[in-house]
Structures are given as structure tokens and as C-alpha cells.
Symmetry: C2
Subunit: 387 residues, 2 copies
Amino acid sequence: MGTNILVAHGGGPTAVINCSLQGVVESARASGRVDKIYAARFGAEGILKGDLLDLTEVPAAEITKLGHTPASAIGSCRRKLGEADYPVVLETLKKFHIDCFFYNGGNDSMDTCNKVNELARQEGLELRVIGIPKTMDNDLDLTDHCPGFGSAARYAALSAAELALDASSLPIHVVVLELMGRNAGWVTAASALAGRLTDCEVLTYLPEVPVDEARMLADIERSYARGRGLLVTVSEGICGLDGRPLADTGIVDGFGHTVPGGTAQHIADRIIRELGLKSRAEKPGLLGRASIPYVSSTDRSEAYAVGRFAVESALKGESGSMVAIRAQREPEYRSSLCLVPLSQVANVEKKFPLEWIAQGNQISDGFFDYALPLMGDGFPEYALLRR
Amino acid sequence: MGTNILVAHGGGPTAVINCSLQGVVESARASGRVDKIYAARFGAEGILKGDLLDLTEVPAAEITKLGHTPASAIGSCRRKLGEADYPVVLETLKKFHIDCFFYNGGNDSMDTCNKVNELARQEGLELRVIGIPKTMDNDLDLTDHCPGFGSAARYAALSAAELALDASSLPIHVVVLELMGRNAGWVTAASALAGRLTDCEVLTYLPEVPVDEARMLADIERSYARGRGLLVTVSEGICGLDGRPLADTGIVDGFGHTVPGGTAQHIADRIIRELGLKSRAEKPGLLGRASIPYVSSTDRSEAYAVGRFAVESALKGESGSMVAIRAQREPEYRSSLCLVPLSQVANVEKKFPLEWIAQGNQISDGFFDYALPLMGDGFPEYALLRR
């Protein structure tokens, strides 16, 4: 009798989370050892309800489409499991005779993964549990970087460069770009590449450094006065000197956190009122994790590879681990995969290094040495005839 | 003695306005009849100041980069010329011995173009004046469509589809997407394609139909209740039954118009407060006219072609005309170029046909028969395994 596997998505999707799913399915098929390939419909909720999709017979051509499908093709959810939920999860795993369980997500999901693994051990269940990393935020520990980040960073960098060109070619307003990131500035830092790719002034603010708004306005006024156009890029979650978000939506989420948002509009309003300049705020929001044309080729292939590696590892008998990426950057970028203990990654948040932030609004070369190889495919050289 | 030419950009750029510039420069070089190729630095302001860029010797490789450079590579401005400005324009044209003047812009620019042409006639100046059409809004008359629109429409359609997939794969909130378009709904209409490409409910609101907000909220509640996720797409300029914008920035622009904006956030706020649903507003804003990865290949090649055609026409002695696109869609899409009188396109705004709007928030096939060929390159088939 062969092996039955179950894969589930947890939390917000990325542009390449389906590439990992493609890796799982294609690796399971290639092994010749897997009987049934199940996917949880809408993540943990599907597992709790026993609502599984049977992907075993889905045509290969349909699976291939996963490579260019954003969001979660099987559905995800934001439900954080409570103690009472875990026995229900195990019931579903038993009911469908699941031998290998793959949970593709971030910190919370790795915690869930770890608890499922421990409970299975306690109950003497023959279950192998492997976590597949995913987060656009890049805040998972023990991995050089996280699948999903390279594409989100490429989106931030190229979008910012395109806005910077617009702002410098028609310099009638300060453009403020809001990017996702409540606590970690990894993605927004990538937007600083716009200053290197264009002739526009670029100021970048991350949540890791409390913002002195008076100084920010002074810096904006001075940079705009240089006449080359100005783009200000901010993480949605940046806070003032009092530690409170510059703006929020007034909404409290399921975890009791106030949902940030409107930060760019808040700054644009102050620029208009207090500096007397025109300003407009742009907020692509979820597009930063869903845009396929901006996907990093490196990110796509690594996301695929972690899915494959998870299946291969489980079929070798591994359990209780998350797939992690090791990378070298000299003489050229190369990455390889390994396993790290779930217990060590669960609930740990990797912060953006403060030494990569200069003068509060500049990003140093150290970050780009780290991030550029992950952002794939090189970057365009623009024609800047007006210089 | 050969010919000297001047090209200038007017108003907001598009993702492919530099392709038209590339067409102008390469066509002028290929003709063997052009001595000097000048470009106005920052549009009309450069002409008024006599601040011209000499592109004559710019390497061909640099000109090629124009094909993937968004915004205006020579700079643009929003200055509307007054009566006193036109003699100054003519001074610059005389000073640089300009024989052919190309103005690349929308309605306002075609008006300027027309007045320069008339004044030159009155003064007996040997000047040929050709307008090159450009606007993401697609609101220029006498041309089947306008270069810049196809790419903005592709951006709207694909971005909306990507957001729709996010909204339906993690259906925890109503996503509201705001797209550019103060008075004309052409671009926002394209976003309705998301309903055809994905499994998500999509409601679309254009500025051509006054919005009954109570009915809009009822429609949103009903659509969301179907459980497939909901994306609401709106033009920034949609108005209520009283004819006033649903939201505005409070800013008055140089022409005395209140600047719209925040429309999506306004709707999201009402959804949260009055329907008790989660909602988030996204506003990519200027990215909708600056994004290169979403450029339509058809749009790019047509934008290049109108630039070439303008130069070829002027060198044949034509003047006082705008390049226009004629298109046939059966049995397959083909377009050709012609000239139309500047006097007939100046200051005329082409509105979105009301018969293409159904039930206030659905876009009919008639629009897509018209627009899909302009949006280039086909559209992805997504893997929707969760269905």
C-alpha cells in the first residue's frame, strides 16, 4: 500500500505559493510511491471540516498552471488553531489515512505544524510532518530567506522605480508609496532600489525605526527642492516616536491587533497642508503579493524546489522539520535546501537589521548584496534623456 | 539643407509614450533628411524657456531603451498655454530653425498643437505641425483608440484578476480597487475581465453612471454572501446621485477641478461600518500608467507606429493633423494609421458608451469585443483547484 499525502496553505498567500504546491504534486507523482494527493480546502478550516480536495487525478496541464497562478489555488485561511482544534485535525488525518502532512505557511503555520507533529508522536501515529516556508515578509528564522519574499521585493523595487520615473518626469507632486509590512521592513527596503535605477530622489521609511514626523517633513521638503522629483516609500506599519502607528484603519483584527493602513495618505495629507506641496499617495496593497508579471524567477524556482524537497524528505522518513534555504552569494548566488527543527522556527520573527538603515531613510548596500540575487532576472536600464 | 524637428510631451505620461518618441527618433534618422532632432525638456515649459534637448547624436542603444522606459524620458508638464504664450512658442521654434513640430499628448495638447499650427500659418512660417495621440484614458475622439489605453486596460484587467484570486482564496474581506479615470470609465471597465478570468464575484462602477450608494452596499452584501470572495472595482471619479464625487482629496488642481481620490477607501469604510464586513481598499494609482511588465504588446507597437507615421507625414508636407488609428476586428484584429484634422479632435472628450454598462455594475461583451484586441498578448488561464 502506498502513501497518502495532505498539503495545506496557512495565512496570506504569496505570488509563488502555488509553485510550492506544484512542486509537492509533481514530486509526489514522480516518486511512484504516493497513492492519494489531498489538499485542504481553505487551509486549517478545510482540515477541521474534513473538506479535502482530491488532486490525485488532476491533469498535469492543470498542475502546470499553478506556476503562474497567484493567491492560493486550494484556498487558505487566517484561523489560528486553539488547543481544542488539534484532536479534530488528527481525526481528519486518520479518516483520510494521511501518512505525510505538509503545511505551507509562515510563523503561525510552523507553530501549528509543530503541534500537530508532537500530538501525532504522543498518540503513536505514523505521521510525517514537514513545514514548507512561505511569507512575503521574509520574517521566518533559520532560513536565509523565505519563498515569496524575492517576488514581493521585486514588485516593490520595480513599482517604486516606475513611480519614481513618473514623479521625476512630471515633477508636480511628491508621490508617497505604501507597501505591506506591519513589523518587518524587508519588502519596503527593496523599494529603495528606485533611487539607484532612476534620477529621482527616494526616501524610504521602515517599521524598525520610529519616525520623527517633523524631521521626515523637513527631509521631504529639502529633497523635493532639488527639483528631480521625489518618491517617499513607507511600510504600512511605520510608527511615530510614541511607538504608535502613523495611521491605522481603526479596525481590530482577529488577533487583537489594530490593522495598519492609510499611512501614505496620512503623510501626503501632511505634505499638502504643512509644506504647501502637491502630493499623492499610492497603495497597491495586496497586489504586492499577487502580481505575476513582477515575479522573481529565482523566487519561483526556489518556491517550486522547497515543495519538492518537502515531499522527498517525508518519503525518506523525515518529520518535525521545516525546509530551509541556505545560500552563498560569492562568487555567484547559489542556494541549497536543508531541514531545520520546527520547534526552533515556530513563532520567531526575523527583524530587518538596523545597520542596513542609514539616516533613518536610506538603505545601505549591505541589504542589496543580500536581496538582489533573490529578486531575479536583473533590472532594466531606463532611458533618462531628460538628464 | 535638411530638416530640423522638435518633439514634446504634454500632460500625464503613459507606459508607452516613450515608444512613440522612439518611433519619432528612429524614423527621423531612417529618413536621411533630418539634421537636428530636438526634444522639449519638460514639455511646453521647455519650449517656453528655449530649454531643448538635442537628441541628434544620442546612441541608438539608448534610444532602444525607450521601449521599456515608463513615464516621459524627456519630461512633461501640465501647463496649459495661454494666449500670451503662443508667440513665445513661435520664437523658440524660429530660434532653433524648427521645420516640423510634433506634440504628443491628449485633448489639451491637441488644442495647443492646433493653435501653434494656426499661428504659424498666419505668420507665414514654414512649419509643419502633427499631433501624436496619447492618453491612458482613451477619451480622444476620431481615433478607434488611443496609444496608452491598451496597456492601462491590461494593467487594470490583470491586476483586478490577481486581486480577485487573492480575495477568493482567502475570503476574509471585500477588496475594493480604485483605478484612474475622473470622467471616463474606459480603464476601469477593463477590470471587469477579472470576473471572467477567476471564480470571484466582481462589481464594477464607472463615472458615467451616478452611483446609488445604498443600492451599491446592498449589491455588495448580496455578492459577498455567495462565499466566492468579492472584488469591487471603481473609477476614482465616480459620483453619487447628487452628481458629486463619492470622495475627493480636498485638493483643487490648476484648472479649478477638485482632485478625486480615496473613493475605494470611502467605500471600504462604509462596508466595514454599515455591513459589518472586513474590507480593504487598494489604490495602485499612477502605477496603472507606469507599469512596464503589464504593457500590451499591441499598444507598444502601435505607440511606436504613430510616432513613425507622424514624422513620415510631416516630411511629406502634411500639417495641422493628428495621427489616428483605424481598426478592424473581424476576422481578426488589424489596425492602420491615418490623419485627422487637429481642429476636430481638440477639446473633445470621448465618453464610455452607456449601452456597455449593465445593471449599473456589469460590463457587457460589447466592450470586451472592442477592447480585448488592444490589451495584447492574450490572458492567463489560472489553476482554480479549490472550485
